[in-house]
Symmetry: C2
Subunit: 279 residues, 2 copies
C-alpha cells in the first residue's frame, strides 16, 4: 500500500494545479498526455485533464468552471475555439484578428487572458522540418478556428499566394478579410479546393477525424512535389496524409503542429495567480 | 520525447474519466493520490483532481461542473458536506438521515446520486484494528457533516452510550435526533467535552487541522485506556493524536478512516453512465 501511494503522489495531490482541454468529442485529444508530460519535465506540479462539454451545456458549464480557484488554464478545441472567446477578459494579438482562442489562462491580476496558438504551432512545425511558407502558393481547407489561426500566422511569413476554401463561403470570405488585416498587400482569395499551381496543402477542416475515412479534397492522386499538412491529430495518420504518402508527398502531421505550440502555451499558462507560488 | 510520452499516457489521456474533490481549503486533501491509485490498481483509466472552490463561488460553480460529460463523480469535504446535498437527484440511506453527503456519482440513468461514507469509514477503521463500538461509551466532538455521518454509523454498532458535543448546541441536538432515527432505544445525548466515563474519544471537528496547534478538548492528560480517533487527515498526527500517544492511548488516524471508505466509494463511482463503457 505504501509503495502504491508513493507512486500515486507523483500523479496528483491536493497541491496539484489543474488545467483542462474542453471539446466535443474529447476522447481523441492528445493535450492531456502531452501537456502533463511537459509540466512534469519543467518540474511543475500540474495535470491537464480532458473536459467533455456538449454544445448545449457550454454556456451553463464554462462560467462555473472558471470559478475553480486552482484552475490555471483551459485549452479549447473543436467546436469551441470561436465560442470560447466570450469567456476572455483580454485577448492576445492573434486572437483579436482571428476572433477565436485556443488557450485561456489567468493573468497577474487573476483575470482570464486568451490567445490562439494554432497558427504559431503550424508555422513552427514547418520550420522544424526546414520548410518555409515564403514564396509558396498555399491552399488552406477550413476557415474555422484552427484554419483562421493558421491563415493569420502564415500571413506574416510572406507566402506568394493563399487560397482559402470552406463549405461556408461567407466564413472563407471573412477569413480573407482577417488575413488582409495582417498584411494588406498579400495575395489572398477564397477559392475551390483545386491543386493546380499549389505548393502547400493545409487541412484545417475536421474531415478525416477519428474513424471518418474521407479526405477533405476529392482527388485520387496528389502531385509528388506537394507539401501536405493535416491539423487533425487523431488518427495521427489521417486519410489525407495516407494518400499523400502513397503519392510520395512530403507530409507534416497534426501532432507536429501541437509540439510546435506546446512550449509557447505552457509559458502562457505559467503566470502566477495572485497569492499563488510559482513553485 | 517518445519515452516521456509513453510515461505520460499512463497518467492521463483524452479517454481518461475525471473525478474531483471539492473543498476549501484544498491543498491538504489526500483523496487525489489515494483514489487515483485505487482506480489504477483496478485497471480503471480515471484520475481524481483537487477542485478548490471558495464558499462565495460554490453555487455558481458546482451546477456548471456537473454538466461535464466525462465527470464520473465528486467528493465533497470541508466546508461543503451539508451544502452539497442540494446537488443530488437521489440520496442514499445514510445521507437521508445525516442531511449531508461526501460523494456524488452518476447512476445508470445519468442522474446524480449521493451518499455519505465518512461514518462507514470510521467504523471500518476500528474494525481493521480489532476494535468495536459495541458496549463502549463514546464522546464525539463535532456535529457537522463528518461528525453526523460517524454518529449515524456508530448508532448501528450498539454502543453503550454516545455523547455529542458541538459549540453549536442546536446542531448537536439535531444530530441526537438523527441518531434516534437509526435506533430509537440508543443512549444518546448532547453534553460537555468531559472524559469521565468515556472509553472512546472521536474528533470530527476541524480543530487541529493544518498548522493549528490546538487540541479539540482542553485537557493536559488523557486516560491511558482511552481510544482516541481523529478524523483530521492533515497533519496525519494531529495535536490530539500526539497528546494521546504521549499518554499511552490507542490512537486511530484520519487516514485509516479514509482507507476504510475508499473501497466503498470507488464502487459507488463505478456505475456506468448511459452509453459509457465500463472498461
Amino acid at each position: 500500500m505504501a509503495g502504491r501511494d508513493a507512486q500515486a503522489v507523483e500523479l496528483v495531490s491536493g497541491r496539484t494545479r489543474v488545467l483542462g482541454i474542453v471539446g466535443d468529442p474529447i476522447e481523441q485529444v492528445r493535450s492531456p498526455e502531452m501537456f502533463t508530460a511537459e509540466f512534469r519535465r519543467r518540474g511543475r506540479d500540474a495535470v491537464l485533464v480532458p473536459i467533455h462539454v456538449r454544445p448545449g451545456d457550454f454556456d451553463a458549464c464554462l462560467p462555473g468552471l472558471l470559478r475553480i480557484a486552482n484552475l490555471d488554464g483551459l485549452i479549447f478545441t473543436i467546436p469551441y475555439k470561436a465560442r470560447a472567446i466570450g469567456l476572455a477578459d483580454t485577448l492576445g494579438p492573434s486572437a483579436q484578428i482571428v476572433g477565436a482562442i485556443n488557450a485561456l489562462a489567468r493573468d497577474g491580476q487573476g483575470r482570464w487572458k486568451a490567445e490562439i496558438f494554432d497558427g504559431i504551432g503550424c508555422v513552427e512545425a514547418f520550420r522544424r522540418r526546414g520548410l518555409s511558407f515564403a514564396r509558396r502558393r498555399v491552399l488552406l481547407l477550413g476557415a474555422g478556428g484552427a484554419g483562421s489561426a493558421i491563415a493569420v500566422a502564415i500571413a506574416s511569413e510572406h507566402p506568394r499566394s493563399l487560397r482559402i476554401h470552406d463549405p461556408d463561403a461567407a466564413r472563407a470570405a471573412a477569413l480573407v478579410a482577417k488575413v488582409r488585416q495582417v498584411d494588406a498587400r498579400i495575395d489572398v482569395e477564397t477559392g475551390e479546393p483545386l491543386l493546380a499551381d499549389i505548393d502547400v496543402l493545409l487541412n484545417a477542416s475536421p474531415v478525416g477525424m477519428l474513424s471518418e475515412a474521407r479526405t477533405p479534397i476529392e482527388v485520387a492522386r496528389l502531385p509528388r512535389d506537394l507539401v501536405v499538412f493535416d491539423a487533425v491529430v487523431s488518427p495521427e495518420r489521417t486519410p489525407l496524409l495516407a494518400l499523400a504518402e502513397g503519392c510520395g508527398c512530403t507530409t507534416i502531421y497534426g501532432r507536429e503542429m501541437m509540439r510546435g505550440q506546446i512550449d509557447a502555451m505552457v509559458d502562457f499558462f505559467s503566470y502566477a495567480a495572485p497569492g499563488q507560488s510559482r513553485a
